[in-house]
């Protein structure tokens, strides 16, 4: 065996030790719990509410299984809908199942998520592995996700039999969690996502200058590239404050092949009080640069190979302020419940679009409308029990 020096030795030694770690040493699985949530989003003419139920149970201290049932009941009169279509109601149902298997210092996870609504079906498979090492100060995790989507189109309340499209999503993520001090822990995450196939909406259109049209512009269907590759890198830092509170900061940088660059920063503070209460507050700031093929108003029809007017791909800034409260209690009549917790959370999100204009405004010259903005109220109330 060729020795390349002390530094070379130290490089492979920890890896070898990881392999030699005997199964008698082990980590810990997540706790058994059940959560029942009611969520409601109200903003920009859209109201979406519904339940989310999550149950997690461990078996033999080796496997932990969780199941989630989630519904979005959509009542939409958003700006896109009112300007190019008519208000609609829709329901989306999502089921998911995950299993975590603990062996030694490694946790192996698999999961399946199925989402279905009248014109969109998505099935996603997930696999991941995480490894505790270095005296449990470091955790490395890898995960892979593969999703297959089927896109349909509704016309006049019924499915258009001639329209079926598909798309595929793949995601690869690596994460590193590191205990920095007795009171501080950091987490770095990097994720690559690639999409392929029909990536736009069957209903959405772009507008272009059309002197022949009464209001100066006309619509044509949007055209997206058939592929999209994105990179997201994030850093999170949690700090335990001496008076028993937690401060967390998170930053994510995002860039993709469509030309979108985005920065996300969030700071949150958690403060327990009076034995049973926990209060939390957060501020989230999001800013993005538009996609290369996005424009609110194209100079003419078929201006480019790819055309988009989805406000999600425009240049905008979103600020969210959130507050939450939790109350711990126990239920005497049900001794198998270790602890119960009642929670409420309210987030106020405001989005200011730079280059997505409000076409509900009548102006002399198209393209001079005011930029659109929306305010949203997001409300959650949920009950958690540990057993």
């Amino acid at each position: 065996m060729q020795l390349t020096g002390i530094s070379g030795l130290r490089a492979w030694l920890p890896a070898l030790c990881g392999l030699l770690a005997a199964p008698t040493i082990a980590g810990v699985l997540p706790e058994d719990r059940a959560d029942l949530l009611y969520h409601r989003y109200d903003g920009g003419g859209v109201v979406i509410d519904g339940p989310s139920v999550l149950v997690r149970k461990g078996f033999a201290d080796k496997v932990s299984v969780s199941a989630n049932y989630y519904v979005d009941m959509v009542s939409s009169a958003s700006i896109d809908v009112v300007t190019t279509a008519s208000p609609y109601e829709e329901e989306r149902t999502q089921y998911s199942l995950t299993a975590d298997y603990l062996r030694g210092k490694s946790t192996y996870s698999i999961g399946y998520i199925n989402s279905s609504e009248s014109d969109f079906e998505a099935a996603t498979w997930y696999a991941g592995v995480s490894q505790d090492m270095f005296g449990d100060l470091t955790t490395i995790s890898f995960s892979f996700k593969k999703g297959d989507n089927d896109i349909y189109r509704n016309i006049g309340g019924a499915k258009d039999p001639t329209f079926t499209r598909a798309s595929e999503v793949r995601s690869y993520a690596v994460g590193l969690t590191q205990v920095l001090t007795r009171s501080m822990i950091g987490q770095a995450n990097f994720e690559v996502i690639t999409d392929e196939g029909f990536l736009n909406s069957p209903y959405r259109s772009v507008r272009y200058v059309d002197p022949g049209s009464p209001n100066g512009y006309s619509y044509q269907p949007e055209v997206y590239p058939a592929t999209r590759t994105s990179n997201a890198a994030s850093l999170r830092l949690s700090y335990y404050l001496p008076w028993r509170a937690a401060l967390e900061g998170w930053y994510r940088f995002y860039t993709d092949s469509w030309g979108i660059d985005a920065h996300t920063a969030e700071v949150s503070y958690t403060h327990p009080m009076w034995q049973r209460w926990i209060f939390s507050g957060s501020v989230r700031y999001y800013t993005q640069e538009k996609a290369d093929f996005y424009a609110d108003l194209f100079p003419r029809r078929d201006y480019a190979n790819f055309l988009a007017r989805d406000k999600e791909l425009s240049t905008f800034t979103a600020v969210t302020l959130g507050v939450g409260a939790s109350y711990d209690f126990s239920i005497a009549r049900l001794p198998w419940i270790d602890k119960a917790q009642a929670n409420v959370r309210y987030d106020f999100m405001t989005i200011d679009y730079d280059d997505f204009l409000d076409v509900r405004e009548t102006v002399l010259v198209p393209g001079t409308e005011s930029p659109y903005s929306l305010d949203a109220n997001i409300f959650q109330v949920f009950l958690s029990i540990w057993f």
Binding site: T24, I25, A26, V28, E31, A60, D61, G135, D136
Partner: protein, 160 residues
């Protein structure tokens, strides 16, 4: 060559000490109830020291089983010492009173001196000491079924 051998031996010493065997270091800690607990006061008995904390799930899981082991083997010259490693003894006192009262001595290692002495490398951590005061078993962590490892060792040692 002699110098490199000497260097090698010096480096090897920590390796030997990190395993087991050898006399268990003595300590004196305040205990639940106000008294003091020392290891030397139990010389001649088989002693199991269990390092635990209220924030450690497997530690809480293990506690009632340790109480069972203590009750069963106490008449044969065995004692259990629970060493709580938290800086504030109040958390341990409250948890024991509400969830898992025990009859064996519980000591508070609030400045981690004893944890350092015993090179505690995982939570929970159990040390079984024979009647002569030597360490015979070091066990890191707790998974259901580990109590059989403790029982096997204790059964063998009480017969000595």
């Amino acid at each position: 060559m002699m110098r490199s051998l000497l260097l090698a031996l010096l480096l090897a010493v920590p390796a030997a000490a990190s395993n087991s065997a050898g006399p268990a270091p003595d300590f004196a800690l305040p205990a639940l109830g106000g008294d003091q607990v020392t290891l030397s006061q139990y010389k001649g008995q088989v002693v199991m020291i269990n390092f635990w904390a209220t924030w450690c799930g497997p530690c809480r899981q293990e506690m009632p089983l340790l109480e069972g082991i203590y009750k069963k083997y106490k008449p044969m010259g065995f004692t259990m010492i629970g060493v709580n490693v938290e800086p504030d003894p109040k958390a341990a006192e409250e948890w024991l009173a509400r969830h898992s009262p025990v009859s064996f001595p519980v000591a508070f290692d609030t400045d981690s001196k004893v944890s350092k002495m015993y090179k505690v490398n995982g939570m929970p951590n159990s040390v079984i000491i024979d009647r002569k005061g030597n360490v015979r078993l070091l066990h890191r962590g707790y998974k259901p079924g580990d109590e059989n490892t403790y029982l096997d060792q204790i059964r063998a040692l009480v017969r000595e």
